[in-house]
Symmetry: C2
Subunit: 410 residues, 2 copies
C-alpha cells in the first residue's frame, strides 16, 4: 500500500466532510471514539446557551420555555432512527447500568416462571455485575446469572432461560453478534432478549424493530459523541411497555406535577424515567446528535470496515509489528468498529502512542484497542497511526519508565 | 415597616456580598432557589473549560489528567461539611430517587427481620414512590410502606418499623423536623433512619454525624446551585459502609479497570457509585459548591429566618393580602427556608408574579411557595416581592386568561 492510494481513498470518502462538525485538533489521531466520542462543535454553543441564558437568565421557567421537561423524549427520538426503532420506544436517561437494572426487572417479570439470565462470560463487566446485584437482592430463585462463551450462546438457549442479555459488539475484541439470528432463536424458546448497544449505536446499522428485539440499552458517550458520562438510553418494544419496572421515580409518573402520594406509572416509555435528569448533560447529547441528520448508516458501516481493514493490512505489511497479535476477526461483517491487538506491553505502547498524538486505549490484561469513527477519522489518520505504532515498537521507546506507570483509569 | 428599615437590614447583612458570585439579573427577584438554584458565575468558565479543553482537546486522557474519575468523591467531600458529615461518607452520583433506592436496600438489609418503611403521608412523592416500587419488587414481606402525619411520627416508632424515611423540610409547607430527636427515638427502637435533605442541604445547618444519622440523600440543584437536574448525593455513616446495595455498577467495583467478571464492592462509600457519571453535570456542581467556601451556615440560617419573617410581616401589614392563608409555621426554628401560602388562584397569582419579575412557584393543589436563599436574596427583594404581590392581588390581574393556562411543569 502506498500513500498515494490513501489520498485517493480520502478524496472519494463521502463522509470526509463530517470531520468539520467536530472540534478535533488536526494533529490528533483519535482512535478512541469508542470510549469517548469527540466534541461536536454544536455542543459548545448549545451548552453556553443552556448555562447562560436558559439556567442563568430564564431560571426555573426553562422547564417549560426551553422544553427541558421533554428532553429525555426528544433525545430518545433522535437516537431511535440510528438503532432501527420506531417512535415512542426510546428514551434517554440515567446510566447504562441503571437502565439495565430497569429492563432486567421488566424482562424477568415477563418470564417469571424462569430465573436464568444468560450472558457471555466476557460481556462488559457492568452488565454482569448488575445481574449479580439483582440476584443478591431477589434470591437466585428469581434471578441467577449464567455465563457462556460467545460460541455457546445458541446451544445454551433452553426453557430454563428467562432472559438473554447480550452486548452486540464485544468491548475488547469487537466481535459482532448476529442480533436477528440470536433474537429469533431465543424467542423460539420463549426467552426475552436484552441487547446492550454500547459499542454498536452510531457504529453500525442496528435494526431493533426488524429483529423483533424486546429491550435494549445503550451509551451516549461513545459513537454518539454526547460527552463524558453523558446520559444513556433505553429501548422498550411497544408490546412490553405496560410491564412495570421498580425504580418508580417521579419523572416516570403519569402526572408528576399533581404530586399524588400514590405511584401511577406513565402508560408509555416514560415509565422508565426515574429522577430529574441533568439538563446540561441532556442538552449536550441533544446537540451532539445533530451530526447524524443526513448520515447514511450504510456509508458509516462501509467506511468503518475499510478503516479497520486498512489498519490490519498496514500492520501486516510491517514485519516489525509481528509482536502484535490480532484478537479481532478479520471478517469485517463479524466485527464492530474496532480492532484489538494483544501485546505484553500493550499498556506502555498505548501510552507511548498517546505521546505521539495517537490516542487509542488499553484494556486489561494486555489489549491495545483501536476504535474507528468514520465521521471524523480519515484513511490518512490510519496510515499515520500505523507509522507511529511502528516507530514506538521498533525503537522500543515504550520501555521507558514513564510509559509504564499505571494511571487510575487505564 | 418602612423602606428605610429595609435598607438598614441590607447594609448590615454579612452575606450581602455573596450575590456578586451569582449571575442573576438585577431586575429579577428570585424566590425559587428551593426549586432551581441560581447560576454561580464560576460555573460558566468551568463548563467552558470542561467542554472545550478537557473534552474537546484532552479527550479520553482527561479521566486521569483532569481527575474526572475522582469527581464523585471530590464533590461529595465539598458537600460533606455543609451537612455535618466527616470525610469518606458523602458521594455525588445519580438522582435522589436512584440514591434512595440504594440506601433503602441497605437500610432494609440492616433490619431484615422487619419490613415496614415508615414515612410521612405528605413526603415528597418520589420518596414514597421509590418505596412502593421496592415493595412491589421484593413483596410486602420484605418491604412495605406505612405513612403517617408529621405529628404521628414519634408515636408510630415501634418494633415493626425497619426504616424511618423522612424529608427534613417538607417540600410544600417548609415544616422542619427535629433530626436529632427523631433519629434518637428511632434508634431506641432499633430503627434505621434515612434522611432526605433536598430542602435542607445549603438551606440550614445539618448535623448528620452529630445526630448519629444512618443514611441520607440530597439534591444538588436547589440550595446547592448545581444546575438543573444536577447530580444528587448520598451519605452513608462509616459504620454502615460494609452493608451492600444492589445496583452493582462498575464504578462501585473495588477495581473497575481490571474488568473482572465478578463484582467485588469497593470497601468504602464508593460502592454506592453505579454507572459512569456525567462529567459536565458533575463539574458544574463542583464549581458551584465553591460559593460556600467561607460561608458561616449560622449566618445563612439567621438571614433565612429573617427574610421569611419579613415576608410574613409585610403580608400581614397589607389587608388586601388577607386572601392568602399561611400554611407554614410562624416559628422560624420549626421551618426550613421557605413559606407556603394557599389561595384558590395560587397558580394564576404565581404566573402573574413571574410576569413582574418575581419568580416563586406553585405546588398543587393550591400553594404559592416562596423560597429564601440568603446567598443571593436581599431584604429589598422581599420588600419589592410583597409589593408586586399586592399589585397582582389588588388589581385582580391574575384573573387574566394567560395566567390560567396550565403548563407541563407547574
Amino acid at each position: 500500500m502506498k500513500f498515494a492510494d490513501i489520498e485517493v481513498l480520502d478524496a472519494n470518502d463521502p463522509l470526509a466532510k463530517k470531520r468539520e462538525l467536530f472540534s478535533l485538533d488536526e494533529n490528533t489521531i483519535y482512535l478512541d471514539g469508542n470510549s469517548l466520542g469527540a466534541l461536536p462543535k454544536a455542543v459548545k454553543s448549545r451548552i453556553n446557551d443552556v448555562v447562560e441564558q436558559q439556567w442563568g437568565r430564564d431560571l426555573i421557567k426553562s422547564w417549560n420555555q426551553h422544553n427541558w421537561i421533554d428532553l429525555p423524549q426528544t433525545v430518545g427520538e433522535k437516537i431511535a432512527p440510528l438503532i432501527g426503532a420506531g417512535p415512542g420506544q426510546v428514551i434517554c436517561c440515567d446510566s447504562i447500568s441503571v437502565n439495565l437494572f430497569k429492563v432486567l426487572c421488566s424482562a424477568l417479570q415477563l418470564n417469571s416462571e424462569r430465573s436464568v439470565v444468560l450472558s457471555t462470560e466476557d460481556n462488559f463487566p457492568t452488565d454482569l455485575y448488575m445481574v449479580q446485584g439483582l440476584s443478591d437482592l431477589l434470591s437466585t430463585q428469581r434471578c441467577q446469572l449464567r455465563t457462556v462463551s460467545e460460541e455457546e450462546i445458541a446451544s445454551s438457549l433452553d426453557e430454563s432461560v428467562a432472559v438473554l442479555m447480550l452486548t452486540q459488539v464485544n468491548f475488547r475484541t469487537g466481535s459482532l453478534l448476529d442480533m436477528q439470528h440470536l433474537t429469533s432463536l431465543a424467542h423460539e424458546k420463549g426467552i426475552i432478549v436484552v441487547w446492550d448497544l454500547a459499542h454498536s449505536a452510531g457504529a453500525l446499522p442496528v435494526e431493533l424493530d426488524k429483529c423483533n428485539a424486546d429491550f435494549a440499552v445503550g451509551c451516549g458517550y461513545k459513537y454518539l459523541n454526547g460527552g463524558p458520562g453523558s446520559p444513556a438510553f433505553l429501548y422498550v418494544a411497544k408490546r412490553h411497555q405496560s410491564t412495570r419496572q421498580p425504580l418508580n421515580g417521579w419523572m416516570g409518573h403519569s402526572q408528576p406535577f399533581t404530586f399524588n402520594p400514590d405511584y401511577q406509572a406513565a402508560e408509555s416509555i416514560h415509565q422508565y424515567l426515574v429522577g430529574t435528569p441533568s439538563i446540561l448533560a441532556m442538552s449536550a447529547m441533544d446537540a451532539a446528535l445533530d451530526v447524524w441528520n443526513d448520515v447514511d448508516m450504510g456509508q458509516v458501516r462501509a467506511k468503518s470496515i475499510e478503516l479497520a481493514d486498512l489498519f490490519m493490512q498496514l500492520v501486516d505489511e510491517r514485519p516489525t509489528l509481528k509482536s502484535l497479535k490480532l484478537c479481532s476477526t478479520r471478517k469485517g461483517n463479524d466485527r464492530g468498529s474496532q480492532l484489538a491487538y494483544s501485546h505484553d506491553n500493550a499498556y506502555a505502547i498505548c501510552q507511548a502512542l498517546i505521546e505521539k498524538g495517537v490516542i487509542a486505549d488499553f484494556r486489561a490484561p494486555n489489549i491495545l484497542r483501536l476504535g474507528f469513527t468514520p465521521l471524523y477519522t480519515s484513511y490518512k489518520d490510519i496510515w499515520n497511526a500505523v507509522g507511529y505504532l511502528s516507530e514506538v515498537i521498533e525503537s522500543e521507546e515504550f520501555l521507558k519508565p514513564q510509559y509504564n506507570m499505571k494511571a487510575k483509569v487505564t
